[in-house]
Symmetry: C2
Subunit: 133 residues, 2 copies
DNA sequence: TTGCGTGCAAAGGTTTTGCATGGCA
DNA sequence: TGCCATGCAAAACCTTTGCACGCAA
């Protein structure tokens, strides 16, 4: 992973700064553009795409896709935060985090990158509601 | 899950039959259309989308998305085949299967649907190549 | 005739590409 | 001057929607 200060073009810095300011939140490209424009930072969609591609390739941000959503999500890869899986409930469609340690994938023989992964299933809340019916 | 014979319109049957004939292979909508046209079956993209949506909702086929690919994948949910996760190697981008039993997600507290999930990491082949360098 | 499955055409949305501009060294 | 980041506009996709047609009950 490259050092942060390898990205000191104005726009890249802004994107990175913004993503860092919303830890553990996932955003789409258009949300990033809107957020930056709200802060009076002029930036084009094309530029955001281009920088995110580079940042994702270098591991500073994570890009992942979710069944049912038409656009990709981006998230700052916080070095000091423990790794986690994404989880989407198939009932309520909420997106949550699952600590990487709570899933054991050793049996697969592969090393897995949890951050990029979205697991699907039913969340606790929805499971309880189902049970009560 | 609904019974197969609930789907006996000509086109749905064709789609289902085709998907069943290529077990464990993932295809996109346009690939389905091409394959069916090659078999001289006339079918429109819209129809394929509409039927797959229904089939996926009923659990007869699985729909999933992969980082880096712009279109969704569909796969016949074979009742007699053990459940598996999808896995994509981040180096060679090959898509593979991992038996559901080799990943233990009990710690998450949620019940997970492996078929819809795509795990990311480095496959054995690429790991070996890396090691040799 | 009524209802429904079909599929063309168009719309909607995301992402990529071409290209001209402007800033910085 | 020369290089490179930028961003508008257009293109390229994938997917959904509107609508009219035709077949079957």
């Amino acid at each position: 992973m490259k050092q942060r200060n390898a990205y000191q073009t104005k726009q890249t810095a802004e994107i990175l700064q913004y993503l860092e300011s919303i830890p553990n939140k996932h955003v789409t490209v258009s949300e990033i553009c809107t957020a930056l424009k709200d802060k009076d930072i002029s930036i084009g969609t094309t530029t955001v795409y281009r920088h995110l591609e580079k940042l994702a390739a270098d591991g500073l941000v994570t890009r992942y896709v979710v069944n049912g959503s038409s656009s990709a999500y981006f998230e700052y890869t916080h070095p000091s935060v423990n790794s986690y899986y994404h989880f989407q409930c198939e009932k309520c469609h909420r997106l949550m985090h699952i600590p990487a340690s709570s899933v054991n994938s050793d049996g697969s023989g592969f090393s897995i990158d949890p951050m990029k992964t979205v697991l699907y299933g039913i969340c606790d809340d929805c499971a309880k509601k189902e049970g009560k019916k």
